[in-house]
Symmetry: C2
Subunit: 200 residues, 2 copies
DNA sequence: ACTGGAAATTATCTTTTGTTAACTAATGCA
DNA sequence: TGCATTAGTTAACAAAAGATAATTTCCAGT
């Protein structure tokens, strides 16, 4: 019936040995939310501490730079968590906009509420750790990529490791996630195609 | 006597209300470690899951790129935590080298041991969360910087926010942390100086 | 204070990216 | 199906970064 809850119950069992029947206190506090394509999940300046598990669809988080261009921080899809780090980590208004690129179904909880639940049910705590570790792993990987690789190498890496994503969202969002302009990405693609060297 | 333990005891009290006298089970498992300047904390390929609080000194984590150049992921100093994310998050051999740039004093614990302690003393759990959140906040900030700003802007930001660091370590390490070459950083500095625009 | 080695700057040249604008291809919607 | 809008490519030029090498500055150890 609810695929997200099944997935997360399994996760909770694998991580902490919590039986699905004992997860009621947690999932009672979650809401199922639908977004249309183009709809906003978190607005610029929002202070709500939303945390969500994506059941279906894609969400992009981005900000608008001084020169008017958009900078994409990340793009997340089904099976991943999404949250505004500004509100959750820093208790600051969100500096980023979170918007659905496709119709989205989310299982959502307020982080303050989650903290209350965790206070009463510390057995769920491994789930928070898992969530934090996953976020950390992802952002460290991206940092490594920025520090170690050129834009072209980062694009090759993205194509190699997340072809589904590259194939599912417009190139201009991919470009802004790589820290370059759409024009520059187009040239990179051309160079790659001319070299014929599409792998590695 | 031991400044690190005092600091962390205060942190644990502020975060979780744990009295300093009740922290013995945790700190009994920590070791005080000294490193000379240039000495290695974690070697390339190490699988040890070391986690440390820096009491004094600077540690740089870096890797060697295909072209032989070094890429610095981060530089941490007193008051910060340091750990190999490869070993702790992924249980993989470390892809980075962690080396002291100055004489260093650490308060060190093995992450596996920490997990055992946390199992028996869940009241310390907020400390792990704090550690993870701090790491996450730092790497997200760096990601934002890479996605939103040019190398010159990133350098200005670094000078503005962490002048102590810029002033304490050789420029070449700063450059590799910004994802550029030392030559390029030198040109950025020259441009900044010529414009006279040393602020913002 | 002297000196050898490392760090930083400068110069030259090549490659890549940014910017702007024109043009073509793709997409969605009536 | 046709049309309007958006996405992607190409072109031309300016600005910045990479690579290499020479030179100067800075530092540490004697």
């Amino acid at each position: 019936m609810n695929a997200s809850i099944d997935t997360l119950q399994k996760l909770l069992f694998d991580l902490a040995g919590v039986m699905p029947g004992d997860t009621e206190p947690l999932f009672a506090m979650t809401n199922r939310v639908s977004l249309e394509a183009g709809e906003t999940f978190i607005r610029l300046g929002d202070v709500s501490r939303k945390l969500a598990f994506i059941e279906k669809g894609i969400i992009r988080s981005y900000t608008v730079k001084d020169n008017g261009d958009e900078a994409t921080l990340f793009i997340r899809y089904e099976g991943q968590f999404i949250a505004s780090h500004d509100t959750i980590i820093h208790r600051q208004p969100s500096g980023f906009i979170y918007r659905a690129l496709e119709p989205v179904i989310l299982l959502q909880i307020d982080y303050d509420v989650l903290e209350d639940v965790l206070k009463d049910h510390p057995e769920y705590e491994p789930l928070r750790n898992f969530f934090l570790m996953r976020m950390l792993a992802e952002s460290l990987k991206m940092m490594e990529s920025f520090v170690c690789k050129s834009p072209e190498e980062r694009y090759r890496e993205l194509v190699a490791e997340r072809f589904d994503l590259v194939n599912r969202v417009p190139d201009k969002y991919i470009a802004s996630m790589l820290g370059i302009t759409p024009v520059s990405l187009s040239r990179i693609r051309k160079r790659m195609f001319m070299k014929g060297n599409l792998s590695h």
